[in-house]
Amino acid sequence: MAKTERAVASVLKKHERDLLSDWVRELKAGASGADGRLSEKELHGQAENFLKLVRQAAAAGEMDDVSGEPWKPVREFLEDITRSRVAQGFSSDQTATFIFSLKKPLFARLRADLAQDPQAVADETWSATQLLDALGLHTVKAFQKTREDVIARQQEEMLELSTPVVKLWEGVLALPMIGTLDSARTQVVMESLLQRIVETGSEIAIIDITGVPTVDTLVAQHLLKTVTAIRLMGADCIISGVRPQIAQTIVHLGVDLQGVTTKATLADALSLALKRSGYVVTKKA
């Protein structure tokens, strides 16, 4: 085994230049270089760097295990490339093809170098395949990880976006809730609303649930908790946007909303809030 390992490394060393040009040609013919999203120079640079790093890692030893320390620079380089590929909108197979298309030129060199020994060619090819497969799979893994990071970030942003506290009037805050309420979201909603009440010194807060598709016992309990917390701070809370189905569900569930002011629409809630704060709205003749 040790002999063949050295053979792959030596092929890489001996034919680096030829391998590189063959590989780049292969890449350009294949999917990841064809549509002009990557310039030839860029592709060439990436391929060159990759070969250099693989050669160094292979020279340092251990060809079987790409998760080891000598392969760290290679892995990091691949992760970098993958990240940029994701940003450019490549698919995972296109990203992995970057590695896999090295097989053809590499195998050709191996065959030429070890022509007199078919057994060695087979062994050599096998170990090279294993190596490139492992590296290719690593790019797929990195690709997935990058995408997951994007999803996680978007979820976070959505959480932020979906809980804006708006000031409707002097001393009246409104919180239009959109989407399903779960414990994590309610926590965020409650905290941001309470914080804004302290900051603005508003005495009335309106929670509008027009955008909440369903209400179950848990959601109702979350709402009640928020209402109680608002009352404890010394402000009043009105729940608005209760749709007929939701009103039915709440009664069927046996949730007690006594002591909580509820209104059918945000407009009703606002007019009640204005009345309570002593404003009178009149229409000019």
Binding site: L194, G201, K225, T228, L232, M233, A235
Partner: protein
């Protein structure tokens, strides 16, 4: 031993809790406040907890108790300036302080007390 000062402002008593409450302090406050209400005949009590950052179930219950006791001694109690974190904690602990009047700050609390007392004096209680 440190005590929480109770200030007299006309007909009202103002209690400002500036330090983190511990159990002994809360008990002392309960004693002090009830005896001050009795001595001064105060009509209203404002408890300002805007500097209170943390509560546990005991302190939460003490706050509820104190306001209950003042009410029995015929002094309206308004709890003012509760911080969001404290409000959330109390709700999670299941202490909703039913029957305790609240206000956003001392100024609003004072106004609420005056209004309540004025309406009390104006007409005889309907009940």
């Amino acid at each position: 031993m440190d005590r929480i000062p109770i200030l007299r402002m006309g007909d009202f008593l103002l209690v400002t809790i500036q330090v983190d409450m511990h159990d002994r302090l809360a008990m002392t406050l309960q004693d002090d406040l009830t005896s001050r209400i009795e001595k001064t005949g105060a009509k209203g009590v404002l408890i300002d907890i805007s500097a209170l950052e943390m509560v546990d179930s005991f302190i939460g219950r003490m706050i509820a108790n104190i306001s209950g006791m003042s009410r029995i001694l015929d002094a309206r109690t308004v709890l003012v300036g509760m911080q969001p974190a404290v409000a959330i904690t109390l709700v999670e602990l299941g202490l909703s302080l039913e029957g305790v009047q609240t206000a956003l700050d001392v100024d609003r609390g004072m106004r609420a007390l005056r209004k309540a007392l004025a309406s009390e004096e104006e007409g005889p209680c309907p009940s």
